[in-house]
């Protein structure tokens, strides 16, 4: 049962990801990207990481895809369907990506991975995550990330605003 769900989610994720990198219409690419992210959120649910699945939907589907769609709307120069969407090196790029995939699959399938240990999340994983966030192990990266988000916010406003002169 879990395997069937995983295969459905994997096919959804990979199919939409393929459409993202091959679609001629950039807007369609962004919509397929959203579905691909939803598939990844489903994979997190299969892995019993419910909190991450929620974060995935909120941050990626809710925020990043919206941001990307805004950027496409603001910079649209692909009204012309005859415009090439891939560059001269797409063949060699596909070859390199395929070669890396083959190498990774060979490596992954040769290792005897342990089976999943029994584990029931029952909600306490979120409490653990919250406690770990402010524990001495993670409090410094946590604060650095909050500063990084603030700097990115201010920086993008400065970069993208209209220069008046």
């Amino acid at each position: 049962m879990t395997q069937a769900i995983f295969i459905i989610l994997g096919v959804l994720t990979l199919g939409c990801a393929l459409m993202v990198v091959t679609s001629r219409n950039l807007f369609r690419s962004a919509i397929f990207l959203a579905f691909s992210f939803v598939g990844v959120a489903g994979v997190y649910l299969v892995l019993q990481a419910e909190f991450l699945a929620g974060i995935q939907i909120l941050v990626y589907v809710g925020a990043i895809v919206t941001l990307i769609i805004f950027a496409i709307m603001l910079t649209r120069d692909m009204g012309d369907p005859t415009l090439r969407t891939s560059n001269m090196q797409w063949r060699i790029s596909a070859l390199i990506a395929l070669a890396i995939f083959v190498v990774l699959v060979i490596v992954v399938t040769r290792v005897a991975w342990p089976a999943a240990p029994a584990f029931s999340s029952e909600g306490e994983i979120i409490a653990t995550l919250g406690a770990q966030m402010v524990s001495p192990d993670y409090v410094l990266p946590f604060e650095v990330v909050s500063v990084l988000l603030l700097v990115a916010l201010v920086g993008s406003i400065i970069i993208a605003r209209e220069r008046e002169q």
Binding site: T2, F6, T13, L14, A17, V21, L26, S29, L33, V40, V46, L47, A49, L52, I55, Q56, V59, Y60, A63, I64, L67, I68, F70, A71, I72, L74, T75, D77, M78, R84, T85, S86, N87, Q89, W90, S93, I96, A97, L98, I100, F101, L104, V105, T109, W113, A115, A116, P117, F119, I125, L129, P141, V145, L148, L149, V151, A152, S156, I157, I159
Partner: protein, 102 residues
């Protein structure tokens, strides 16, 4: 139960699709989308390893949360740069943006 290798293969496939997109697309926004796909592939691997190797520690999930936060910052700055370039040069085609190329 799904074997761990399936998750790793899914992550590898997603990463390679993203790599192909980042290398072959001409539009800067499309390249950013491909980079987001690659970051998601990494996250799948991190969460899968957390579940199968060390479910009692939350390190894998913590790292994934940090990756998502950095990805959000990266997307915001990247798209701001794209908009700024479009404003000054009227294109988002990375082949035409060669100001810093000798």
């Amino acid at each position: 139960m799904v074997p761990l290798s399936w998750y790793l293969i899914l992550g590898a496939a997603l990463f390679c699709i993203g790599l192909y997109g980042a290398l072959s697309r001409r539009n800067a926004v499309a390249i950013l989308m491909a980079v987001e796909l690659m970051l998601n592939a990494v996250n799948i691997n991190l969460v899968a390893f957390w579940r199968y190797i060390t479910p009692e520690l939350v390190t894998g999930q913590m790292f994934t949360i940090f990756v998502i936060a950095v990805a959000a910052a990266e997307a915001a700055v990247g798209l701001a740069l794209v908009i700024a370039i479009y404003r000054s040069r009227d294109t988002v085609n990375v082949e035409d943006i060669d100001l810093m190329k000798l």
